[in-house]
Structure formats: C-alpha cells, structure tokens
C-alpha cells in the first residue's frame, strides 16, 4: 500500500457535555487512510461513527467538543485550522454527504442554485462557467434531463434523485476525500443498489478516497477496501475487508457476522444473536465496553480496556484474547487466565 497517507486520525477523543454528565462519544480512535482508498466505518447507532466524521470535517456542534488527539490531512492538523482555513478546506479538499438528502438540501432554492453556490464559494469563476460545471456534474451522477432538473426544487425530486444531487454537490469541487455518512440508509434496496453502483463508479473515475459510514455490513462488503468496526466510541477491529469478513478476531465482529441470516441457507437455521443491550454511554462499563456482552469475557476485561493488537498484517483487534498471542504484556499472562 502507498506510504503517503491522505488522512491520519491519531487518538481522537470527542465528548458531549450534557446536563447529566460528560458522554465520551469517541474514546480515542486512530486510523489512517491512503489515497484512492475506501474505508468503511461500521457500528451501531450511538457507537460514535458519525461524531467522529463530524469532527474531521469541523462540523461538530456544541455541546460536542474534541477533547484530544490529532486529525492530520496531508500532514496538516485539521483541528488547529482557523475558521477561514476551515472554510477553504471544507468543500475543496474534503466533502461530506449525509444520510437524509431531504433535510440537507435547502427547500427554497433550486437544485441548480445550490450547486452553483457550492462552486462559487470555493473558486473564483463566473456564473456561466459555474452553471456549466453544475450541469456537467449532474450528468455525471446519472441524472436525466439535466436542464429541467437544474431548475427544480428538492421536493420535486425522488429520494434517490436527491441523493444524486447531494453527491454532485459534494464532488463539484473535486475533493480528495469524501465522507459519506450513511448515504444509502434512507433509500429502498433497488435505489440503494443504484447509488452504490454510482459511488463505486465515481470513486474509480476520480480516484478520491472515501470514508464510508454505515451500519450495514452488506454495503461495506460491496464498496470498501478496509473496514473499522466501532463499538461504544472505540475501534474494536480494523483490517482489510476480506480479513474482517472471513477472519474476524474481535468477539463483537464475530457476533455481528453470525447474527445475520445466511443468504445461502437452504434450510432453516437459528440465528445466533449477541446477548444484552447496547452500552449506555452515560455510564459506560469499566474496562472493555463490550465485556458485559462478550461470551469470552475474562476478569481483566471488566477492569482494563484492551489495547489495539496487531493480529496479522494490517489487521488489528482490540481484545485481551490476543494480548498473549501478540506477546505483549507477558507479565500479565497469569492474570488473563
């Protein structure tokens, strides 16, 4: 893989300061992303996957606050950007598409106006040139009758069409990194298939990197090169997509994969669910957040949070089960048993 990294997230902490206490939404995650690479971030609702993305692009809103760590984009720390630098950075070099395209498009402006606004904010070009770019972009995302669509309002378009407009808007300034926050969750399966095909196609054409946030493992298998599995604000497992799906190491990943119905099943097999309920982020358990639900839970799991252990090349899991194998913390060997 390419040594030069586009994005490096180092030990990022994000907290929400609510009246009932501090919620550590993201508790120290690290990952990197190369050029022309698609990284999937999977997790349940409340696992911190969106919050993490919002911090990268500087859209985190109060009471949310980054409390530690670094986000390096081509070596520059994004978290230290001034407002002006952030404005130049956002849209030009990094861009985001959201889950619900209806609430993210402005209902009182036409699709065309919004696209032109996006270009004119970042580049000093004339209106005509901007319009040409917008039309070209709409064609690229597979919209027919672009001239007519250009003058329509978001409510006149279907859900899939709106998501295409969102993608066009995100890509109009040719960003190097696109953050896609559950872009297909609100869509029907046949439309989801269309959008996924489009995103794969555009990724190959433009060579941009994508951080693809989703809770759907099927979507991950389809579009991602690498995957980070998040649970309760931490990355519990990270690796190439094949490693995660065919050789999962963290009990949570294993549980998730096992709990899904097998598409190849020819007779009825019982599903194996993950027991228990998701973590209450206001009172997270001590030690490993997955400990209380884990079938392999040991004493140490309830006391200390496990480090991220390399289990094979480019494949890491945060679990005490592998600490011994990795021959780290040998002296703790007896304690683990």
């Amino acid at each position: 893989m390419n040594d030069k990294k586009l994005l490096e997230v180092k030990d990022l902490h994000v907290s929400f300061f609510t009246p009932v206490g501090e919620v550590k939404a993201v508790g120290g995650i690290s990952y990197d992303l190369g050029y022309n690479e698609v990284m999937g971030i999977v997790g349940e609702s409340g696992s911190g996957k969106s919050v993490e993305a919002y911090s990268i692009i500087g859209l985190l809103q109060s009471p949310g606050k980054v409390t530690g760590g670094e986000v390096l984009f081509e070596g520059r720390n994004v978290l230290e950007f001034s407002n002006k630098e952030m404005q130049a950075f956002r849209g030009n070099e990094i861009s985001m598409i959201f889950q619900n395209p209806m609430t993210c498009l402005n209902p009182v402006y036409t699709v065309g106006d919004q696209l032109i606004e996006a270009v004119c904010c970042h580049e000093s070009i004339g209106k005509d040139e901007a319009k040409r770019r917008a039309l070209e972009m709409l064609t690229m995302v597979g919209i027919n009758n672009v001239e007519q669509r250009f003058n329509q309002y978001p409510h006149e378009l279907s859900g899939g069409m709106r998501q295409r407009v969102m993608i066009a808007m995100g890509l109009i300034c040719h960003p190097k990194l696109l953050i896609a926050d559950e872009p297909t969750t609100a869509l029907d399966v046949t439309i989801q298939a269309q959008i996924l095909e489009l995103m794969k196609d555009l990724q190959q054409k433009t060579q941009m990197s994508i951080v693809f946030i989703t809770h759907n493992l099927g979507v991950v298998a389809e579009i991602c090169d690498r995957v980070s599995v998040m649970y309760a604000g931490r990355i519990v497992e990270q690796g190439k997509v094949d490693d995660i799906f065919y050789n999962p190491h963290h009990p949570y990943t294993m549980g998730l994969l096992r709990s899904m119905p097998n598409i190849e099943e020819t007779r009825h097999e019982k599903l194996i669910p993950i027991d228990g309920t998701p973590v209450d982020m206001l009172n997270p358990p001590a030690g490993c957040p997955f400990g209380p639900r884990c079938e392999f839970c040991m004493n140490i799991c309830l006391r200390e949070n496990p480090p991220l252990i390399q289990v094979s090349e480019g494949h890491r899991a945060s679990c005490w089960l592998y600490v011994e194998q990795a021959q780290i913390a040998c002296e703790r060997g007896e304690e683990i048993e």
Binding site: V189, A193, E197, N216, V220, A221, D275
Partner: protein, 326 residues
C-alpha cells in the same frame, strides 16, 4: 382459491382493494391505489413474509387484513368467516399487530404495566386484581423483561426493549394471528436477531400465525415459510421462501434479490447485479397493464396493455407476469 372451510387456511384474501381518496386540485379528487386487487391465503401456523419497497402497499395490506383500514372492495375471510363488514371486537382478540416504530406506538403517559394490561381489561380477561398483575408479570418475563419494569415508562427503555413491550402487548390477549409490521427495521443489527429469535420461539410455543412485513428480504427469507413480493399495490410473486430465493420467476423479484448487498466481499465482487432504471411510479397514477413494465428489463408490448393474471405456474408458486405465458 375457494373458501372451503375444512382446509387449513386461517386467512383468505379475495380481490382486496384499498384506495385512499385525496384532493389533487381545487375540486378534483383522485385515489391513491395503495392495494390493488390482491388475493392470497395465510395458512394456520405459518409465517407469510411480505416484501417490497416503500410505498408498495405492504403496510396498508397488513392493516387492511386486520381491518384497521376498511377495504374499498374485496373480501377477507378469517377461519372461513367473512369478516369484511362485521363488528371486529371479538376478532381483535384473535388478530393483533406489532408496529414498526416501537417508541411511537407506545403511549408515553402510560406505564409499561398499563400498556400491556390495557387489552386484558378491555377484553375482561382477568377475574381479580391479583390475576391482572400476575398476567402482566408473566407476559413481561415471556418477552425477556423484568417484572419491576411494569412500573416504568416507555422512554426509559432502549429501542429493543420497547419493541419487546410492543410484543408483550400483542400477545397479552392470546391471539392466533399477528401482523408484524417491520418489527425490526428500527433496531440495531445486534438487537434484530434477538427479536427475530424471540418471535420464532413464541410462534412455536403459542402456535401463532404471522404476517411478517419487511423491506429487508434477507430477514424475511429467514423467518418466513412463504414470501409474497409486492410492487405498487400488486402482489407479483408468492412462493415458498427458499424456492423464491433460488428460483425467482418475476423480473421484479429477481432485481430485488440481486439488489440486496450481501455481507460477503468475494461474493459481492463476482455477483452480476440487475440495476433498475428510474424510480417507483406514483400510486396516484400507476402505469397501465403490468405496473412494473416501465422499469422491467424484459418488457414486451403486451405488458403495457394487459394486466397479467396472478396465477399458479408451479405448485405453490404464484406469479403475475406475461413472460410466464410464453
């Protein structure tokens, strides 16, 4: 299909239609054809899955069967009796529903005990106060909640637990038939399988019959004995669930199956996918003939003229498509 009372059909639907009138202009009115001429049967003790995209009428169909909506025309038979126009009170004890959004379907001002016990009072199923609390406690433990949860309010629970409350409410009157209207789509992946397993266990212990509505065909295939596929108010295919997934005959079912992302990277890389053009047409003004012809990759001239008949092409495999006549 006939209404022969000695077969083991619990529910029989004949030519059911449900239109919703809406205003489209100052005086002009038109109908949303949510369910258009659907006929099928549900057998005693089985799970019939219903899949389709949003707006295809699957929820309306489910609600019309238990007469939460009055059908525009057609007949509904329950255990051989026509219930299309009768007083539903005695049948409400036999037919229940679990709703999609657990937080919206529980009254926020009632405690869990009151929610679960309300139907017991309405149907006068308890003789004494003690019997009433005992019943509530046993219902809660049946769905995996603690007895002390009876005094709490719905907002104190997580989504999965709220759905369990909804299930406890549905089974409180000891029904024979439950419409499960997307009971798991609002839940997290790790919780979905818990609820699916619980529904399956309850089915075997209580002898329930389910109509399981969902848009996720992989879950429906897992839980159902038979699956019906709906498109724009029509049922286009109905077959035994593994038969349907291996040997789908209707082009729409084939697309739907191929559109589902599979959690298997190698398989999804090598898979050929049928991607449909365009969006689902409006049910206000549906296409003529076969409603799928505007998006169908195999559309023929006849498809836009004649409505295909929903007929049995193989044993227990019903399809509505002109391709079957060739």
């Amino acid at each position: 299909m006939s209404d022969n009372p000695n077969n083991n059909n619990l529910i029989e639907i004949i030519n059911l239609k449900k239109y919703f009138p809406i205003k489209t202009g100052f005086i002009k009115k038109s109908n949303v054809q949510a369910v258009e001429d659907v006929s099928f049967t549900i057998r005693k003790g089985e799970t019939l899955g219903l899949v389709g995209e949003s707006g295809c009428g699957k929820t309306t169909l489910g609600r019309t069967i238990i007469r939460l909506h009055q059908p525009t025309s057609g007949q509904i038979f329950y255990g051989g009796t026509d219930i299309t126009h009768v007083n539903m009170m005695p049948y409400r004890r036999k037919m229940q529903i679990i709703f999609q959004d657990p937080s919206a379907s529980l009254n926020p001002r009632m405690t869990v005990g009151e929610i679960v016990g309300e139907a017991l009072e309405i149907h006068k199923l308890c003789n004494s106060k003690k019997d009433y609390t005992d019943r509530i406690h046993s219902l809660l433990s049946q769905v995996g909640l603690n007895t002390e949860h009876a005094n709490r309010f719905p907002h104190e629970f997580s989504g999965g637990q709220q759905q369990r409350i909804g299930i406890a409410r549905a089974i409180s009157v000891e029904p024979e038939f439950i419409v499960c209207d997307e009971p798991i789509s609002a839940l997290d992946v790790s919780i979905q399988s818990q609820i699916v397993n619980m529904l399956e266990e309850m089915q075997s212990t209580l002898g329930l019959t389910y109509l399981f509505i969902a848009h996720d065909i992989s879950v429906v295939r897992h839980i159902s004995n038979r699956i019906g596929v709906m498109y724009l108010g029509n049922m286009v295919e109905l077959a035994e669930s593994f038969e349907l997934s291996r040997h789908a005959l209707h082009p729409y079912t084939q697309t739907l199956l191929s559109a589902v992302p599979v959690p298997d990277p190698k398989l999804s890389r090598n898979r050929k996918r049928i991607v449909l053009e365009g969006d689902i047409p409006s049910p206000l003004n549906p296409p003529t003939g076969c409603r799928f012809h505007t998006r169908c990759p195999y559309a023929m001239p006849i498809c836009s003229e004649l409505i295909p008949e929903f007929k049995e092409v193989e044993k227990d495999h019903f399809v509505a498509c002109h391709l079957m006549d060739k």
